[in-house]
Symmetry: C2
Subunit: 396 residues, 2 copies
């Protein structure tokens, strides 16, 4: 039973680690209570984790005005510097990146234009290598001291193999991106689909921090989804699950970037809104997609009926898609995650009513839908959370 | 760490039990190999399980013509009679029921008309009590000797509480069916949504027996889905997940029995096909839904274009719904489970092509879609598998 005992010790470390990650800091006795481990086991395992430098002791905060008597009670927390990683998010036009510690503190960040529409894997590796050096400097770190780097790529990605079936950023299909990047970068590399990483950002540092089951939906250039079940990102049998943007919402409907018809994305993504606008508002000003979209939203808010009708339809179809997800998953929480104005029209009371109209009605609470407005670096932070997740899985 | 050791012993029993359930019979040394437990642990735990009467020794089958030398090698298997349960499936018009042992052998069965369109919970309890007595007689068992009875109910059911939010069979909404049945029946009762139980039938006795992850879809009066993730039926945060028939496939589309519009079920369930037929073939002969549907399928097969168009649309929309599931879950296997002719037009090469046209394209195998034609008692066997599952979870 030796292997089982090692397995059991590891389970104890994982339990204690995730309890501290969720709670911030806790006394040993509370760790025992909340994990179900015996106080003796908690003492043994936390001593070991402290010797490994993963956790540290801190004084329990004293309530205001209370006179402290005797020895201060000691609590445990994660040691932020025990795992410092980089996260990189690749998008069309821009690479964003950051360095975070185990507590999610941002130690440095770098956003850089990314001009080539599509790359060979080797060119990408050279670009990322240079970026990593500059990024590390912003955080006064050496690249070699980082525990790893997580990389979020749009498209269909198998995380286990770091294999990119397809991405709008790569010239070729079926690229072993992990292999190429591992050859060129001096630290461990992890590659995954970008939206899965937003789910990890919510799990580690966001609204999902205290939860084990929730769904994250992102809407920007495309529509993404991440599913967390039992504290793990659900990736499907072949690692390409949780594809929401290309589920069909209207049979033989609008043409999608993917070449199929009627995908949800073909009605609510950036390009879908501007395609509609091109019919009724062909002179919409703006040099970029973002500028034209901002303008479209502005004139809708000012009362332009054509513009309003474009957002209204997008909102309605998105609400149907969300209702379908709720029917299938029955989640406690859905997080709409992003940074743009889309979130305004997708979180109105009318929108939530429309979702409710389309889910199975029972006399029980409907899932909460919350909007999480992150800054520009949400995706990079997700990539960093991914690197933390992988590094800690290996070292616990 | 005492509680952990008990937990660990239980895990070992669960591991060995499910290995034997999947494999039929195995030598101790092969159990050790395939579970990762040490041979010593396997010896200890199997001795304990044998003393509890859960498993038994059998001779290893000798290959044809081989001369057996020395002591026959001994293998272990589940002891069928160690857990005998009843399964009952409630439908509109009929109750089907059966008694099975731990190996899934049918010891007796009973199908009985069920006339009342909707019941009070107490009336149902009286009906089921009488049925159980008669069912036990067919199997030469005493009701009191059964380990439990699993009951499958159409509608929205919370299994943990045995609470029926809504069912077409019950007069009231929000019924604590488990409480009422437990008061009236002499053995442990378990209540769940019927389609979840078909997933358990596949897991225990069907095509999912050797798998941990798959999806089951049923099409009869309605459309049902069961999701198995990591060997467990996925039930959602509030126990009402895996609702597929009422996901929307056409915004503001056909009216559904549930009162909403555009549900998948409103295009492919029995009543949906006959609603279409009533427009173009108002004189379709037949005294029952089944008879008229059989007739409709017959004339479609004989070349009637109107009838063909009805099945063609249903097949097309079903393929879209299935493609959406594949995009979301990326399963290895989808089982279309049922007993009727619907399965013929839903498993044609054209149908599978249409599914493939609507899933995200990557150069990797698409999930297998298999058709499993069960007899009339599929649902009852699922209810029995559910009872086995619950009883064994408690006694391992």
């Amino acid at each position: 039973m030796k292997s089982s005992l090692i397995e059991q010790r590891k389970q104890g470390r994982v339990l204690i680690f995730s309890k501290l990650r969720k709670s911030g800091q806790l006394a040993r006795i509370d760790i025992a209570k909340e994990t179900g481990l015996s106080p003796a086991t908690v003492t043994t395992i936390t001593a070991e984790m402290m010797a490994d430098g993963l956790i540290e002791e801190v004084d329990r905060p004293t309530p205001n005005g209370e006179v402290r008597r005797g020895r201060p009670r000691v609590e445990l927390k994660l040691r932020p510097s025990s795992c410092v990683v980089a996260g990189i998010k690749l998008s069309e036009g821009v690479i964003s990146s950051m360095i975070v510690d185990l507590e999610g503190n941002t130690l440095g960040s770098l956003v850089r234009p990314f001009d080539a529409a599509s790359f060979e894997a080797e060119e990408l590796a050279v670009t990322l290598n240079a970026l990593l050096q500059d990024l590390a400097e912003t955080a006064e770190q050496k690249v070699e001291d980082l525990a790893g780097v997580g990389i979020g790529v749009p498209g269909i990605v198998n995380k286990e193999e770091g294999f990119v079936h397809w991405s709008p950023l790569l010239k070729k299909r079926n690229v072993s991106l992990l292999t190429t990047l591992t050859d060129h970068l001096p630290i461990p590399v992890f590659v995954d689909n970008d939206t899965n990483l937003v789910a990890l950002a919510e799990l580690w540092f966001g609204y999902g921090r205290t939860l084990d089951d929730f769904i994250v939906v992102t809407i920007e250039h495309g529509v993404g989804m991440g599913i967390v079940i039992d504290g793990q990102v659900y990736r499907g049998a072949q690692g390409r699950g949780a594809e929401f943007g290309h589920t069909k919402i209207i049979p033989d409907g609008a043409l999608c970037r993917c070449g199929q018809r009627g995908c949800l994305e073909a009605y609510i993504a950036d390009y879908a809104l501007l395609r509609e606008a091109s019919i009724v508002l062909p002179d919409l000003p703006g040099a970029s997609v973002e500028q034209r979209l901002d303008k479209l939203y502005e004139i809708a808010t000012d009362g332009n009926h054509d513009a309003q009708s474009i957002f209204a339809r997008a909102g309605k179809l998105f609400s149907l898609g969300l209702a379908n997800l709720i029917n299938i998953f029955d989640p406690k929480l859905i997080i709409l995650s992003g940074e743009q104005m889309r979130l305004d029209y997708l979180s109105s009371p009318e929108f939530k009513e429309e979702v409710q109209r389309n889910i199975i009605h029972v006399d029980a609470p409907v899932p909460e839908i919350v909007v999480h407005r992150w800054g520009d670096l949400m995706w990079a932070k997700g990539a960093a959370a991914f690197a933390l997740n992988e590094c800690m899985n290996a070292s616990l």
